[in-house]
């Protein structure tokens, strides 16, 4: 860890499969030292994901407009959606840092620090990975490590509609109450400003000298993966409804 600049940036709404493909490509590039340590910050459209081996019963209800993916990670059902800040660090762990649990604890510290800057007092809870405000969960963590490079990461509820969580058993804890920065009366409860706070705390916790903008390579790969996904679903005729149009919580009201 020598000249240490963290390449970080908020890239807005990205489909889950696109973000996953991007992470995988970055992971390979990071391994080859073709990019520097990266912290991708983004939001996902409504999506439920299930870890490998997780029971489908973790999803209590299938909502229109919410995609479901089974992902090769551990863990149970998770929800992601607009208003939730997702952080995917693609960083190389070296020397002392090659400790999986220490990495998880560092991520928790980063989130707790960032929440504090937004006037939310949060804590760890022994034995439960994640970040909590009292009994309520505000951030979830789930990471993957390949060749000592990290992927996946964390999700902080900033201003998202928490009702979606009632359709799953979050992280296998039945009836686990969820909360968000907005629900806790935090300041500037919007994902983009919150992402800046998170980058700063992340850089501090992992010992970077500075936070730089996202590598041009990362932006290019994101474009590539997005257009690839777009082509795969083929062009819609003009005037047809777009996928994004459905990111409207009215879907909740229309529940059968």
């Amino acid at each position: 860890m020598t000249s240490m600049v963290l390449s970080a940036g908020f890239v807005g709404l990205v489909d889950y499969p696109v973000a996953l493909a991007l992470q995988e490509r970055l992971l390979d590039l990071r391994f080859a030292d073709a990019v520097s340590d990266t912290l991708l910050l983004l939001e996902h459209p409504h999506v439920f994901t299930l870890g490998r081996g997780a029971s489908e019963d973790g999803i209590l209800e299938v909502l229109p407009g919410v995609s479901v993916y089974r992902v090769s990670r551990g863990g149970q059902a998770t929800y992601h959606g607009p208003g939730q800040l997702i952080g995917y660090p693609i960083i190389k762990l070296e020397g002392q840092a090659r400790d999986v649990h220490a990495y998880l604890r560092s991520l928790e510290r980063v989130i707790i620090g960032a929440l504090q800057d937004h006037s939310v007092q949060a804590q760890r809870r022994a034995g439960l990975t994640g970040v909590w405000v009292g009994e309520r969960k505000i951030a979830s963590i789930g990471v993957g490590i390949r060749r000592w490079i990290t992927m996946h990461g964390f999700a902080v509820n900033v201003s998202n509609d928490l009702r979606f969580f009632s359709s799953i058993v979050p992280c296998g804890i039945s009836g686990c109450p969820m909360t968000s920065v907005a629900a806790e009366g935090g300041r500037a409860a919007l994902t983009e400003p919150f992402s800046l706070t998170v980058s700063a705390h992340f850089a501090r916790a992992f010992g970077y000298d500075a936070v730089g903008p996202l590598d041009a390579t990362v932006r290019r790969l994101l474009e590539e993966e997005s257009s690839r996904a777009w082509q795969a679903t083929a062009a819609m005729p003009p005037g047809a409804s777009s996928t994004r149009a459905a990111a409207d919580p009215k879907g909740m009201a229309r529940r059968p």
Partner: protein, 497 residues
């Protein structure tokens, strides 16, 4: 070199770990640095890599099981003892080892993506300058290595159980189905289709670059868009040229293969009781409400599809449109035109009044493993036949990817349920409330029919409309079917508007 593989200590505070997934099985040859298994501790999962070369002889800790750090989880034997020298290049092993890994990452990726993996990998390696691929010692493989590796990939490719049942769509291409009934592809072709897709090893190594295959520009573009290798496509064009039609046929076969396997309804066990999934409960509630509240009546017509079949075939042969037009698309277009003349069938009975909708939004019932979804094609009255095809195929492809947005599933004003692919003679569907009607489309079959006083063999199709008697009477339903029949029997009219 013989050794034990133990549960790694991934953290100072780690006491035990769980095997999420083995990436190798007994008999597999592994090299230093190869991914062996995914191990989970706390909320982190990590790929365990081999520290030496060898052959896995036994797996001692099964998937889903946990063990303390240092516990032996698998046994490794030296390579030389159990294998013979072979002359294969090492590339296949590398591919075989990594392909399932990558493919596994997300189990609901759409077929096009899966198919594209080989080229994508190639790209990545180019970017990395090969830095990520570790040198592999020697060319030593057990004699039976290849078939086993392939079997492993095959089994990785059976994700039905793993699929999230509720959303993974299975009726992936309803529109392509009637063609099956007319000309079922030989069994052999069908089984060869998936192989073509997942055979990344040998064939790829000696595959000619894409430009070495003779193909029409349209075919080339279609292959590129779908991410398939022209090497897999059987040419039927003049001089062994690959046409767009060949590419489409190849894609259809793959889809069909998926469908054949996926559309199988969830199996039950005799003498068991199951909780109903949310989707099943929703279907139960809505269908019961429909039958309880809506006074259904049914009207059937037989439609001569000879001309429609010809139209479809000639459009395919001419390669006029990017998207192949399917029978389902043709029926959707004809329905949209017929509905424009009978707006009362594009209506809802709501609050004791009748709402006639401004747009014709046609829902297409798509079977999925434990139920069905009805994605909606909006404003069909404005769409040309190719536009309908494009939009419908996109929705159906999406079904296989496993997820619709609210907008895509709501706002339907009329529904089409197509069971042509199942070869059914005739059926009637239950109205999807609050719509006024649903059209049940059966298989196109060769039947004797009378044309100009002569008995001839023709291709006909039965359609049955189920209507809400509160909204319309038999005469409207009958006229609608007459209109539909007129369009389908004179399908050129479908291209004009």
């Amino acid at each position: 070199m013989a050794g034990e593989i133990t549960m790694p200590k991934l953290s100072d505070t780690m006491e035990e770990g769980k095997i999420l997934h083995w990436l190798k099985r007994p008999g597999d040859v592994v090299h230093r640095g190869d991914a062996l298994a995914e191990v989970e501790t706390d909320k982190a999962d990590m790929v365990l890599e081999s520290f030496e070369d060898g052959v896995i002889t036994e797996i001692k800790l099964q998937e889903g099981e946990s063990a303390a750090v240092g516990t032996v989880i698998a046994l490794l034997a030296p390579v030389g003892q159990t294998v013979e020298k072979a002359t294969q290049p090492s590339a296949p092993a590398e591919e075989a080892a990594e392909a399932p890994l990558r493919r596994e990452r997300l189990s609901l990726v759409e077929p096009a993506r899966v198919a594209r993996e080989p080229s994508e990998r190639g790209e990545q390696e180019a970017v990395n300058g090969g830095a990520m691929t570790k040198p592999i010692a020697g060319g030593e493989f057990p004699a039976d290595y290849e078939p086993e590796a392939e079997a492993a990939i095959e089994s990785e490719h059976e994700p039905e159980e793993e699929r999230v049942r509720v959303h993974a769509a299975l009726g992936a291409r309803p529109s392509a189905m009637p063609s099956v009934i007319i000309a079922p592809p030989p069994e052999q072709e069908e089984t060869s289709a998936p192989k073509a897709r997942i055979e990344p090893t040998e064939e790829k190594a000696e595959a000619k670059p894409a430009h070495r295959y003779k193909a029409s520009p349209l075919a080339r573009r279609a292959a590129e868009e779908a991410g398939i290798d022209l090497a897999h496509v059987r040419p039927t064009g003049p001089d062994g040229r690959i046409t767009k039609r060949d590419v489409d046929k190849f894609l259809r076969e793959q889809q069909l293969f998926r469908q054949r396997r996926l559309v199988a309804p969830r199996e039950g066990t005799f003498g068991s009781h199951e909780e109903m999934s949310k989707m099943r409960q929703t279907i139960a509630q809505r269908m019961a409400a429909s039958k309880r509240e809506i006074p259904h009546f049914y009207v059937t017509a037989e439609i001569d599809m000879e001309e429609a079949v010809r139209l479809k075939e000639s459009l395919e042969a001419a390669e006029l449109f990017d998207e192949d037009i399917t029978y389902n698309d043709i029926v959707v277009k004809a329905c949209a035109l017929a509905l424009l003349r009978y707006p009362r069938l594009n209506a809802s009975y709501e609050n004791s009044g009748l709402t006639i909708h401004p747009d014709v939004n046609i829902g297409i019932a798509v079977a999925i493993e434990d139920g069905l979804v009805v994605p909606v094609l909006r404003e069909c009255q404005r769409l040309s036949l190719p536009e309908i095809a494009r939009a419908a195929h996109r929705l159906v492809a999406k079904a296989s990817q496993g997820g619709f947005t609210t907008a895509e599933l709501s706002g339907g004003t009329f529904t089409i349920s197509n069971m042509g692919m199942l070869g059914v003679e005739h059926f009637a569907a239950v109205i999807n409330p609050p719509q006024a009607a649903i059209l049940a489309v059966s298989a196109i079959k060769e039947r004797p029919l009378v044309r100009k006083g002569q008995i001839v063999i023709g291709k006909t199709m039965m359609v049955t409309i189920s209507c809400d008697h509160r909204i319309v009477d038999g005469v409207v339903a009958g006229r609608f079917l007459q209109e539909l029949k007129r369009f389908l029997e004179n399908p050129a009219s479908l291209l004009l508007q």
